[in-house]
């Protein structure tokens, strides 16, 4: 299968609504970045001794890694299980995963108290630490993703020799990627195993690593549907509907397994009572469960909805939002009771997060424009104009943003 660059790429810059939003988010992010690195964490966040981890960990890292899970799910399906039908969507998925991990690393630079020491785990090892394991896995997996992504760039510049090398080690790379992902996706749940007395029992369970892993697969599938649908709308591409329908079917099974395990676990730990005890935690618990289990399952079990592009898109968005809520609940809501503190992010925290999300979308758009990401369609395509001048404003803004 051959891939191509997006044919709608044009060399004139038009200020659209979304570009305005992007510029606004980037400006906010730049200002927040300035505050973070000139005045420290105290001035730029609502974190305190009772609440040392906020939205930069909850959303940017936990959700960021989760949202990038399509990378290992899809590469495993295509290269290990040899499901050829899915091949047409593998490149956008790897791109999403690669960007996701880059942005997670960027977010970490904001959250770490001493970001210039981020390399310390390389030489100062504590194998008893989950954080150490996560650090290593994320580092190695980002490298794996860079290599999995590299053929796209190498192809673009027609560098045959390194291309040959990467292709030769592709299968071992994919296997490493799947193992590393399994390890750190679940380990992000393991992080919270050490706080049984602090985390609310609706979320604390010895099965946290299993739930984090299963939900990563679900979100990986949902993100693939989401980003394929969005790309087809935005870049005027043909939607790979049969492929997405197949992902939708797998998603039903994964969500079903997750739902059963989740409620069995609650019942086994005698925590089901908490799910009906009115309170802050209960409402957020049911918000999470409705978004990530009830609504998407109700939608996706209906063959008619599963077959429609809009039905799939809606279900995928629900699953993504649901598991984002889940990660926020585990890392924020679940701690508010025991610490006796309410945490709500400061504007600077939101601004940095917003800028990171915006950067993700923008980089995706740029990559699609300049690199062969989407499969070549039958129709003849016009030659692509010189790409470098395509979006000068945006690239300039991103240099200023500092992330």
């Amino acid at each position: 299968m051959t891939f191509r660059r997006n044919p709608v790429a044009n060399s004139t810059f038009k200020l659209t609504f979304w570009k305005l939003v992007f510029l606004f988010l980037m400006a906010g992010g730049a200002y927040a970045t300035f505050i973070r690195f000139t005045q420290g964490l105290g001035a730029s966040t609502h974190l305190n001794d009772q609440f040392p981890w906020g939205i930069w960990i909850s959303f940017d890292v936990l959700c960021g890694v989760m949202l990038a899970a399509g990378g290992f799910t899809l590469t495993a399906a295509v290269h290990i299980l040899n499901i050829k039908r899915l091949h047409s969507i593998i490149r956008p998925t790897i791109l999403t995963a690669f960007l996701g991990y880059i942005l997670v690393c960027a977010a970490l630079m904001f959250d770490l108290g001493k970001p210039y020491n981020i390399w310390h785990p390389l030489i100062m090892r504590n194998p008893h630490s989950v954080m150490f394991e996560v650090a290593y896995c994320v580092m190695l997996y980002t490298t794996v993703l860079a290599l999995e992504f590299s053929p796209i760039v190498l192809e673009r510049f027609n560098l045959q020799k390194p291309l040959k090398v990467v292709r030769a080690i592709l299968i071992p790379l994919v296997i490493c990627g799947v193992i590393l992902s399994t390890l750190h996706q679940s380990s992000l749940g393991t992080l919270y195993l050490i706080v049984p007395e602090k985390l609310y029992p609706l979320w604390y369970t010895p099965l946290l690593p299993v739930f984090f892993f299963l939900s990563a697969i679900a979100v990986g599938l949902a993100m693939t549907i989401f980003e394929s649908s969005l790309s087809s709308k935005h870049f005027g591409l043909q939607l790979e509907l049969p492929v997405l329908q197949e992902l939708g079917r797998v998603l039903v099974v994964v969500l079903g397994v997750y739902a059963i395990l989740r409620f069995e676990d609650l019942a086994n730990r005698h925590a089901l009572g908490l799910a009906v005890r009115p309170g802050y935690e209960m409402y957020l618990f049911w918000l999470e469960i409705s978004l990530c289990i009830i609504l998407p399952l109700c939608l996706l079990v209906q063959p008619k909805i599963r077959a429609s592009a809009n039905g799939l898109y809606l279900s995928a968005v629900l699953v993504v939002l649901g598991f984002i809520t889940n990660r926020m609940n585990v890392s924020i809501t679940g701690f508010e009771g025991s610490t006796g503190v309410r945490y709500f992010p400061k504007w600077t925290e939101l601004a940095v997060t917003g800028a990171i999300i915006a950067a993700g979308f923008a980089l995706f758009g740029l990559a699609v424009k300049f690199l062969p990401i989407f499969p070549k369609e039958e129709m003849a395509e016009e030659p692509i104009s010189e790409p470098v001048y395509a979006q000068p404003e945006i690239t300039a803004v991103m240099e200023h943003a500092g992330d």
Binding site: L47, L112, H120, N126, I179, L183, I194, P196, P206
Partner: protein
């Protein structure tokens, strides 16, 4: 042998000399304003709490098997054989997992600084290594904070509870909370009054994560084998199907194609990504 501190709140008179000595030892500012603060913070490693004429110290418990040292990715926090749990700021990268993990919520952070570090009582490791008591124990005018061998102090605490019926809550806090700590507390009122958790496990917390982490060395080769095996099966199936298809359509050519077919398939697969 492991050293420990025994704090007997019934002997404490709330003079806060331990706070003063601690600040001096750790080169932290101390004045009336700091003295009035009833909370541990980045500039106050120990605090004497007052509730209805009862006193209670708060300081790092220096656990026997500390969560903070277990979770620290760079090993900045360490449990020493003598008892103190030490902190090396030069290793720390500021992930703050220690603060999340500590069952006593002890580690505090210098949120206001550009080069922040974790602040917590480290049980005066230099003094203890030199055979001296901690600064707080040395200065305590009533002997409410006592420094010594952990086993001796446990025996003494048990004796005090036994000899003074009705004076103490029948519990030595720190004897087996999270597997035991190097700070032992005696009180005449329930420890919860002062915010000490009563729901802590008697087992060391690090086991909770290590139980999972210890499977990784098994998982990696096993997972690699399984994934490799699945890849082998799925691709072999394809090769066989491909080869059989070729044979049935071009049987007259004979068995010339097996290896070249494999090569072709390999090339095709290689071009995939």
């Amino acid at each position: 042998m492991s050293k420990a501190l025994l704090y007997d709140s019934t002997v404490c008179i709330g003079c806060k000399q331990c706070e003063v000595a601690c600040a001096g030892q750790n080169k932290l500012p101390y004045d009336d304003a700091v003295a009035a603060e009833q909370i541990q913070s980045d500039h106050k490693m120990t605090v004497v709490l007052t509730r209805n004429d009862k006193f209670m110290r708060k300081l790092c418990m220096n656990c026997n098997d500390p969560s903070c040292a277990s979770v620290c990715p760079v090993g900045a926090l360490k449990k020493t054989a003598l008892g103190p749990v030490t902190y090396d700021a030069s290793k720390c990268m500021g992930c703050r997992y220690c603060m999340v993990a500590c069952p006593f919520s002890v580690p505090k952070y210098e949120w206001g600084k550009l080069v922040p570090k974790v602040q917590k009582c480290t049980m005066c490791p230099d003094r203890v290594a030199a055979g001296k008591p901690t600064a707080c124990a040395e200065i305590c005018p009533t002997g409410a904070t006592k420094f010594g061998e952990r086993d001796d102090l446990i025996a003494e605490a048990q004796k005090r509870i036994r000899d003074n019926p009705g004076t103490y809550v029948d519990h030595i806090y720190g004897l087996d909370e999270v597997g035991g700590t190097s700070v032992l507390l005696l009180s005449s009122v329930p420890f919860e009054t002062f915010g000490y958790r009563s729901n802590l496990s008697k087992d060391p917390m690090p086991m909770l994560t290590y139980r999972v982490l210890s499977h990784i060395p098994d998982f990696v080769p096993l997972g690699g084998m399984v994934l490799g095996g699945v890849w082998w099966i799925t691709h072999r199936r394809e090769e066989v199907a491909f080869a059989e298809g070729r044979k049935s359509s071009a049987r007259s050519k004979g068995g010339s194609g097996e290896t070249s077919n494999e090569n072709k398939t390999a090339n095709k697969n290689g071009r995939k990504l």
